[in-house]
């Protein structure tokens, strides 16, 4: 990891038109992605993580649109680039691995053709060269007898193997950025670890930057260099993995981490009360305030700005304001902070 930015997301806003009005799925988020790093975006369902990465791919659903902000990749702003100019970027420089491998491959096309397709599209190679590359890729993602596998159809593969193929397709053109949208959620636990290892391994081989979306904090701890926590369409806290895990600042992050079992857990797990707000009409102030036991009057009135905790760590909560009363985070978080000191 170094300090060369490969992607810059600035004040990104994404809305979806519905009959009831515009749903503000992403409400002004900013982050940078550095060369070779893995940035995890965590948050519960509906927090806008998937929409954020689809916006980066330029693959918003037909009723979605960019309501503001920029996504700067090299010399283009993806949010303002025409569809046809994105074709040479997608699959080539920015590639994506999807959540459900059972449905993300074309059931009527052979595996070989599906891999060769992306190679032939972006690289100036002949069919036989593309074939050779595809065979190598299948081998690379850990599937044996690749030549036979080339001729087979997706239904002849297990879920884990299909995800390996999807990864092969994503990495076929050695992209600069790999986006993984919950790539292990649909797999069973024993396979999850294998797929994560494979992704880490291949990322190092080609030196790609990875944006990893998940709601599984165990996975985050395993793969991420940095973590962004999203809630109700906003990033509420961003920092290195250690900072987020051992010194979280935002009450929502406390809730998330408190709800994850670890070796010290005794008794009941913590559950965040209530449900996320309706983004058709987002609440004023901190969207998490209504579910937070630490909420203050100002949380209901004004959106908190980012307060710097360290050079790499920022959180959007009024609790970090100098005038805020000192609060004691839940016991789980206290324990974690102590553990950090031991380390």
């Amino acid at each position: 990891m170094n300090n060369n930015k490969v992607l810059e997301v600035k004040d990104l806003e994404v809305n979806f038109r519905t009959y009831a009005g515009d749903v503000q799925a992403v409400r002004g988020i900013s982050f940078d992605l550095y060369e070779g790093e893995t940035l995890a975006i965590v948050g519960e369902s509906g927090s806008g993580k998937s929409v954020t990465v689809k916006a980066i791919m330029g693959l918003l659903a037909s009723n979605g649109y960019y309501a503001g902000g920029e996504i700067n990749y090299e010399d283009i702003n993806i949010a303002k680039t025409k569809e046809k100019d994105l074709h040479s970027v997608r699959g080539n420089q920015i590639a994506m691995v999807f959540q459900d491998p059972m449905t993300s491959l074309d059931p009527t096309m052979t595996i070989g053709k599906q891999i060769m397709e992306v190679i032939l599209l972006h690289q100036n190679v002949s069919k036989s060269e593309a074939y050779q590359k595809a065979v190598k890729l299948i081998e690379l993602v850990g599937i044996s007898s690749p030549e036979d596998r080339m001729k087979q159809y997706p239904h002849q593969f297990s879920g884990g193997m299909r995800q390996r193929i999807v990864i092969a397709i994503a990495l076929a053109c050695e992209p600069k950025i790999l986006i993984a949208d919950e790539p292990t959620t649909a797999l069973d636990v024993t396979i999850q670890a294998q797929i994560l290892d494979l992704m880490k391994d291949l990322q190092q081989k080609i030196g790609a930057s990875v944006i990893f979306i998940t709601h599984d904090l165990g996975v985050v701890a395993n793969v991420a260099d940095r973590v962004a926590v999203m809630y109700a369409g906003r990033i509420v806290e961003i920092g290195t993995a250690d900072e987020i895990f051992y010194d979280p600042q935002h009450p929502y992050t406390w809730g998330l981490i408190g709800s994850m079992p670890d070796l010290d857990t005794d008794g009941d797990l913590y559950a965040i009360p209530g449900t996320p707000p309706n983004l058709l009409r987002p609440p004023k102030g901190d969207a998490f305030a209504i579910r937070s036991e630490f909420a203050m009057q100002i949380d209901f009135e004004e959106q908190p700005p980012f307060f710097k905790v360290s050079e790499t760590h920022q959180a959007a909560t009024w609790l970090l304001h100098e005038d805020a009363p000192k609060v004691t985070p839940p016991a789980v978080i206290g324990k974690r902070r102590e553990r950090l000191k031991e380390v």
Binding site: M57, L59, S62, E83, K84, L86, H87, S88, V89, R90, G91, N92, A95, M96, F98, D100, T103, S104, L105, D106, P107, T108, M109, T110, E117, V118, L121, H122, Y153, H155, Q156, V166, I169
Partner: protein, 319 residues
């Protein structure tokens, strides 16, 4: 695969045998005889009944008929100068097939194109147009359409012809003249085909376009045309084939209304006349022939399904 086809062929023969047997006995339950014309005297009737062996017990007649069928003889028509049933069917079939296949090809092609357009430009003018057309197409009976076409297109605008003209060199009717005269009857038949195919194609393609593998195809960097041509159409067409099968049978067996309106000497009219006259062997022959078409088309559709959908091909191979 071979074993599968052989199994299916055996089942086809079994089906045809059952159809033939049930039809044979059912027809004898119809009131009247083939010779109920008031001009025929009882003595003549007696003579006719004996000539065709209809005075034997039904069981004996059945076995005799079965034996004939196995030797390729489907009997003769009592009312049409003792012409063999097979010859009568062979004479009528080409006209029905000519109009039916025109309607089928035109209807399916137009239906798939319009349905695909509607799905690709969902919510646009095209989509609305196609939806309205589909409703009109399934709700207008073909006889209303046939009458309207004859009134406006032929009488008012002077295009095409009132009646279907079979190819006939002696009357100077060439293949092209005949095809020209088939356009209106074929179009009348095809409106339903267009609407049904269109609606089906639209809903299938909309579903496919929303699937994960289409998103992955787009994430690869394919443009819209490539995504549709390489990934979406093939997947959307698979279920569409299932409805084309039954429609093919409907068209190949002919439509009575269309044959009446356009004077087509087709199978449908042959069957109607035979039924009203108790022409036993002719009814039997046509019914068995219809069943034969039906099971054969279904077999072809099933095999075609395997060609398009690899999941089915392999399962078929293993069984």
């Amino acid at each position: 695969m071979l074993r599968y086809v052989v199994e299916r062929l055996f089942l086809i023969f079994l089906t045809l045998f059952v159809v033939l047997t049930i039809n044979f006995f059912l027809l004898r339950l119809m009131p009247g005889t083939p010779f109920d014309n008031p001009k025929i005297t009882p003595a003549q009737k007696e003579l006719m009944v004996r000539k065709y062996g209809l005075d034997d017990p039904v069981g004996v007649q059945y076995l005799r008929y079965l034996n004939d069928v196995l030797h390729g003889d489907f009997g003769v028509s009592f009312r049409l100068q003792d012409q063999p049933v097979t010859k009568l069917i062979a004479m009528r079939l080409p006209h029905t097939v000519q109009i039916g296949s025109m309607a089928l090809v035109f209807g399916v092609v137009v239906g798939i194109l319009l349905g695909a357009l509607a799905a690709i430009y969902r919510g646009s003018f095209w989509d609305g147009f196609v939806t309205i057309l589909a409703v009109i197409g399934v709700s207008i009976p073909s006889m209303v359409l046939a009458a309207l076409l004859q009134h406006y297109v032929v009488a008012e605008w002077g295009m095409f012809t009132y009646l279907y003209n079979p190819i006939d060199a002696t009357r100077g009717i060439s293949v092209w003249d005949s095809l020209y005269s088939s356009i209106l009857p074929a179009f009348s038949l095809s409106l339903y085909v267009i609407s049904a195919t269109m609606r089906y194609m639209r809903s299938e393609l909309v579903e496919v376009l929303n699937s994960d593998y289409i998103l992955l195809a787009r994430a690869k960097g394919l443009n819209k045309t490539q995504v549709i041509m390489r990934h979406a159409l093939r997947n959307a067409l698979i279920p569409v084939i299932t409805i084309v099968g039954p429609m093919t049978i409907g068209l190949l067996t002919g439509s009575l209304v269309i044959e009446m309106f356009y004077g087509v000497p087709g199978l449908s009219r042959l069957l109607l006349n035979a039924t009203s006259q108790n022409d036993y062997f002719l009814i039997l022959g046509v019914n068995v022939f219809y069943s034969f078409l039906f099971v054969t088309v279904i077999l072809i559709i099933d095999l075609l399904y395997g060609v398009i959908d690899p999941r089915i091909r392999l399962r078929g191979g293993k069984s």
